[in-house]
């Protein structure tokens, strides 16, 4: 664990330094230079944070649904702790994605919010997370809370993909094609791609590190409240 923390800390520091400090030049001559992206210039750097954040918020949702399913099968409250911790972190990352995306949208598309399909999808994911916690807070009894929350996470997990493919037909997307797209082609400069993928890996690592801390904390609180009074 200690080793993992150290590596993660070093890794993310390196990623952040590279993302902010590598110069953006018109003609690349050295390995540490980023190309000029017309229309983005310095703003291109947000790519290294926005996309990994979006990615982790989806990871959070998927982890939450997986443990929700497991809770319903095992009825062990520990699975509920994992599920709700994953959702809590997912909510945080989802909010950060929305904010970074909205800032990017302002400078690239001209408005903070345009109900672009991606914006709508991430907004609805935010709503789902919100609803999940609203439901949890309205039930007092542990088992019931866990069951209802798990059921809601699963129903939302089933309907969410529909939104992702329905939305783009309602409004055209201005959002760039996904970096990791279906054609298997990556249109990115090598240095940028390396930093980007390192950032993706770093944020995923960060997610799972915070996740393990949250789970540990929740378990301790759980234990304390069972022994309390």
């Amino acid at each position: 664990m200690k080793v993992f923390q150290a590596i993660l800390g070093f890794w993310l520091t390196a990623v952040i330094l590279c993302a902010f400090l590598f110069p953006i030049v018109p003609e690349i001559t050295r390995w540490y230079e980023f190309p000029v992206i017309p229309g983005l210039e310095q703003k291109a750097r947000i790519l290294f944070f926005h996309v990994p954040l979006a990615w982790t918020s989806v990871v959070g949702f998927v982890v939450s649904v997986i443990f929700a399913i497991r809770y319903l099968r095992t009825k062990k409250l520990d699975d509920d702790i994992r599920s709700s911790s994953a959702a809590g972190l997912g909510l945080l990352f989802c909010a950060l994605t929305t904010i970074t995306g909205s800032i990017w949208a302002k400078f690239s598309w001209g408005s903070f919010w345009n109900w672009d399909p991606r914006e709508t999808s991430i907004f609805v994911l935010l709503l789902i997370y919100g609803a999940y916690f609203a439901l949890r807070s309205s039930v007092q009894e542990d088992d019931k809370k866990a069951t209802l929350a798990a059921v809601y996470a699963i129903i939302a997990g089933v309907t969410m993909p529909f939104l992702m493919f329905v939305m783009p037909r309602i409004i055209a997307s201005l959002h760039p094609d996904p970096i990791i797209n279906t054609q298997g082609k990556v249109s990115m400069n090598g240095t940028m791609l390396t930093v980007f993928l390192s950032s993706l890996a770093g944020f995923t690592g960060l997610y799972f590190w915070i996740y393990s801390l949250t789970v540990r904390l929740a378990r301790l609180e759980f234990k304390r409240s069972s022994e309390g009074e």
Binding site: K75, E141, D142, S225, S226
Partner: protein
């Protein structure tokens, strides 16, 4: 009716991780009756609900066997009749409709004559076409007995059996009780000495810790 055998072993129930009761085990064969006693809030109703498979225990198992075959928990209701204060009737329907609608939902179809007989048994035959909303609480209690008795269950669960009943009603309950104990099982949760002495056996439940548990919201005693 079918001969049933009931085994409860190591039952424990926690509400929000605080134990209501723990380590309750018993075994009942046809003809045996059991009283569950304990102070208010000690979890008598909770235990009954667990036996009826309406609640799942935190630990332990309830097994119901019919003719030597174990009944899966989700099908246990077929062999159970229950009367309890927290069990409510459809107030917008008449006594007769309550019987026939529930009968259909149970997937059975008794004849009109059988409904009449049941209603006569609980002395409601003259009010059978009145909606339950107009009933007194004692009459509602009587109708619950008719519903519980309809399928001639192997296992009869009575929570506070004499709630709201007059002397006539109590003697009706007694005769049902005697009828059931001939070849069935009865479990009675009660605060009353009189009910407990009728039974072969009594288990006293109490919270495993000092300072009894407050009952969970919406529970009877």
């Amino acid at each position: 009716m079918t001969l049933v055998q009931l085994t409860a072993s190591g039952l424990r129930k926690d509400f929000n991780r605080r134990p209501v009761f723990s380590d309750i085990s018993f075994q009942l064969r046809p003809g045996q009756t059991l009283a569950v006693a304990g102070r208010n809030g000690s979890g008598k109703s909770t235990l009954l609900k667990i036996v009826a498979s309406l609640l799942s225990p935190t630990a332990g198992t309830v097994t119901l066997t019919v003719g030597g075959n174990e009944v899966p928990a989700r099908w246990m209701f077929r062999h159970i009749g229950m009367v309890a204060p927290y069990l409510h009737l459809y107030e917008e329907f008449t006594a007769l409709e309550n019987l026939s609608l529930i009968d259909r939902i149970r997937g059975a179809a008794h004849t009109a004559a059988e409904y009449e007989k049941l209603l006569a048994m609980v002395s409601l035959e003259r009010r059978k076409h009145d909606v339950v909303r107009t009933f007194s609480s004692g009459m509602k209690q009587r109708l619950k007995y008719a519903l519980a008795w309809m399928e001639r269950p192997g296992l009869l669960l009575l929570d506070e059996p004499r709630t709201n009943l007059d002397a006539d009603g109590i003697s009706m309950v007694r005769s049902l009780f005697e009828e059931q104990r001939r070849d069935g099982i009865v479990i009675v949760a009660t605060n009353e000495e009189d009910d407990a002495v009728m039974c072969d056996d009594t288990i006293e439940i109490s919270a495993p810790r000092r300072g009894g548990m407050p009952p969970p919201a919406g529970e009877g005693s």
